[in-house]
């Protein structure tokens, strides 16, 4: 009997509003512990929450980008449980009437595309952070994160493999970054993914018992954890065992999931409507205002780049992975660069420099028009491709324009026939053995001569001229 995995994802996204969701404290929780706090996010007696409108706007934007219906009337609820990182011992969240529901996200996996249903997206507040590293058996709580705005995005159980889960997270992150609503940094916890995983015999309609995998720090970790969990469950089922409904953690070092909490100890959260906050009423005008502000989303942009610039699916995919990268690309093209060459230089050369420097395109010192100017120098034969790579590296570190680098360093391509002839003659004179080999028909040796001539011209020889003159001189 073959088994089929049924997976649903819950993703918590920290929304990058300037202030917390219910108070005006900054959301920067890397500040020294308990500095970005106030009576409201500390849960002091008498303090009251006021919903941050920017959070609602950004949540609506996410909802629209995911094709959700935006509720005309939704409300906040209290989710009651006791834990020291929860200032009020209830979390303000949304229970039965979320802001967004009933959407879908198109993902690309194994060369095809698939639609993942989005059940809902709802607003809530983040908790504080407990630390047990104080020593002496003491625990500390940092409330800087308490009240940071969170959007929880829940999928339908539409995902069938670890790869699909990975593709879903990638596509979701891409959209969130396009919307500029979150920095989506998984290691810092601004994006947290949980997977609900169950198996069922292929062809069966009903679901098996699920486990929930939490606390995974990367997308690849999620993929591995799901792979492990599918294999584990399959083994349990094949050996006649039963799956226990539970929460499981992911041990990245050992590459295994482990039991954290059984269903029996699950909470009764005693949800009820938050009396301190009026209902959230989003009328048509409000929704339309947000809709008009939506940027072009990744899938649409990729298709447009393919059509408009004749890019390959792969190049368009790589360029549109991030909105900033795609913006940069379009600026290079707008500055007059050939779209295909620009794509090539961007995805290969500039990307390599960025990766090496661990830098984002937004911090890149090479301005888009400077990159276009560099490509123009190649086109006009001012410099060759090899020199251009050096110039780009220099531009990357110094931020100078390609023209001034070329000028300053005297990198102009040598197209002076006389100078190249001199160099060719010199090389031929110094390499009698290679000349003999070449004359015996060893064509490979030709590369040696090219290299030597380029070396003699400090790489500045016009490659076409070098070739021509070498053939002429050697052929004599």
């Amino acid at each position: 009997m073959d088994y089929e995995a049924v997976i649903g994802m819950e993703v918590h996204v920290e929304i990058n509003s300037k202030s917390k969701v219910f108070c005006s404290c900054p959301t920067d929780f890397h500040a020294p512990p308990n500095t970005n706090v106030c009576p409201i996010c500390l849960g002091m007696p008498g303090a009251l929450p006021v919903l941050n409108r920017d959070m609602v706007n950004k949540s609506i934007a996410v909802g629209l980008a995911l094709g959700c219906k935006i509720s005309r009337w939704s409300k906040m609820d209290r989710k009651n449980y006791f834990y020291p990182d929860l200032a009020k011992n209830y979390q303000i969240s949304q229970y039965d009437l979320p802001l967004c529901d009933n959407g879908a996200l198109e993902i690309e996996v194994d060369g095809g595309s698939k639609r993942i249903g989005i059940t809902r997206a709802h607003m809530e507040e983040d908790t504080a952070r407990n630390t047990h590293a104080l020593g002496g058996g003491q625990s500390g709580i940092d409330f800087n994160r308490s009240g940071v705005p969170l959007l929880e995005i829940v999928t339908e159980p539409d995902i069938r493999s670890a790869r699909e889960a990975h593709a879903y997270l990638t596509a979701l992150k891409q959209i969130l970054q396009y919307l500029d609503v979150s920095d989506c940094n998984m290691e810092e916890g601004s994006l947290r993914a949980e997977a609900n995983i169950s198996l069922r015999p292929k062809g069966y309609a009903e679901f098996g018992v699920k486990t929930e995998v939490k606390n995974v720090a990367s997308f690849s970790g999620v993929q591995k954890a799901i792979e492990f969990e599918i294999a584990r469950q399959e083994q349990v089922l094949r050996s006649g065992g039963v799956i226990i409904q539970e929460t499981r953690g992911w041990d990245a070092d050992r590459g295994i999931t482990f039991s954290q909490r059984k269903k029996e100890s699950a909470h009764d959260y005693r949800y009820f409507p938050e009396p301190d906050l009026p209902p959230i009423v989003v009328d048509d005008a409000w929704e339309q205002r947000i809709r008009h502000q939506l940027p072009e989303l990744p899938m649409a942009r990729k298709q447009r780049l393919e059509a408009q610039y004749g890019l390959s699916g792969y190049d368009a995919h790589v360029i549109t992975l991030s909105r900033n990268f795609a913006d940069y690309y379009e600026k290079v093209v707008a500055s007059g660069a050939d779209p295909k060459k620009a794509a090539n230089w961007l995805t290969v050369e500039l990307q390599a420099l960025l990766s090496e420097a661990k830098a984002e395109i937004t911090a890149c010192r090479v301005a888009p028009d400077a990159l276009a100017a560099l490509l123009k120098l190649i086109d006009t034969g001012e410099i060759n491709g090899k020199i251009a790579k050096e110039v780009l590296a220099e531009m990357f570190t110094s931020g100078q324009s390609p023209d001034s680098i070329v000028q300053e360093k005297g990198l102009n391509q040598i197209s002076d026939t006389g100078a190249i002839e001199d160099a060719v003659k010199q090389v031929i004179g110094a390499s009698p053995n290679q000349v003999a080999q070449y004359k015996e028909g060893k064509e490979k040796v030709f590369g040696y001569f090219v290299g030597q001539v380029m070396k003699a011209t400090q790489g500045k020889g016009n490659p076409q001229l070098v070739n021509e003159i070498l053939r002429r001189e050697l052929g004599r």
Binding site: P39, G46, A47, L48, I141, D268, R270, F272
Partner: protein
Amino acid sequence: MTLDWHWKSAREIRDAVQSGAVSALDVTEAYLRRIDAVEDKVDAYTQRWNDTARSMATKVDEKVRRGETAGPLAGVPVALKELLCTRTGKTTCASKMLENFRSPYDATVVRRLEEADAVFLGKVNMDEFAMGSSTENSAIKPTRNPWNLRCVPGGSSGGSAAAVSAGECALSLGSDTGGSIRQPACLCGCVGIKPTYGRVSRYGLVAFASSLDQVGPLTRTVEDAALTLNVICGRDAMDATSADLPVPDFTAALTGDIRGLRIGLPKEYFTDALSDQMREKIEAAIEVFRDHGATIVDVSLPCSEYAIAVYYIICTAEASANLARFDGVRYGFRHPEAKTMQEMYVMSKSAAFGPEVRRRIMLGTYVLSSGYYDAYYLKAQKVRRLIKKDFDAAFEQCDVIAGPTSPTPSFEFGAKSDNPLEMYLSDIYTISVNLATLPGMSVPCGLTEAGLPVGLQLMARPFEEETLLRAAHFYEQNRGFDMGRPPVA
């Protein structure tokens, strides 16, 4: 300097201070002496802020001396209920849980009073976390009724009412979740108003039941209540439930003219539950209105009988969440013997909350629990809407609804403390107003043969405090007798 400034109204004090006829400091000293004289009998104050009071008064006097216009409560000595957050002193909620708690901020109403140049004399007693009707649930001490020291002052704002009634402050702030301003005002013979829900900011009012709580004044005259409302009402960006409506000059409503006013008498408020001595006084008060051109109509509030049940489901549900934050983690009492996290929660709460608070937390937790939510909390919310509809219908026939504030006058200590249900009935006439988010007030309408005050309750449509004040002020001016002063020396 007149010797009995402590019996003057807030308006008289304000006018005299503004005009320079008396210094705020002299008025304050008069009140401090009055407190010294009677406090050992009344025990209204839980904290006395003599130095703060003197320095606030001095600031007001300097303002007057500089020729600036002092605020609308210039030099008026005020007492604050223990659950209003103040940076000065402690905010204990009359609970062992917060016996040493200092708030890092001032409640919006406190800030507004200060900006109006009021003078704070200190904080006054209450039932722990505002849960009770006699102030016997205070973890600090009992407060006595100035009209009879063997009797309770009512609750939960018992300290606020007793202090006003005994001349220990010119006015006080209380809070009203199910009658906690009106019932003690009634039992202590003073004026108390619970504004419309949303009229006054709740920011800095330690929450009991968020959808019902409202801050309001207790005063010796209706005009003083209007003056105080002028200061404390209005939109507050810190409270999302505060109404974004203009605040009228409430004193302008005190016209003395009630011709054409339609007063509704709900038949459900005049049943056998109402003691004869109360009924007699209430009916006499109604006659004053009738004699001066008001129309008296019979109305019905058929869902009244469910009000207590609905109230004790909703208020306990909200309280169970609101009081969850008192866990010993960040502030408040933490049991010294707790060794684990679980013990910290259980032992701290068990030791520091009194029996009534624990009872309500447990009730509230129960009605919200999975499997019971629909039968209790959800049903209660539905009936709450029906109660509101009753009032909407009644207010089509009348402008003001009148009735008793409390079914009985004050009672002796311990008389009801063994029977929580009987104690809960103290609020039978007041809680509907909170459930329906209406403004309601209690105005003194006489004394029983035993010399205990009786209060007339008036209710109006949402945000029609002006109608309420106009009716109450008219009655106060025309009732034909003086309430006199309580026998406390």
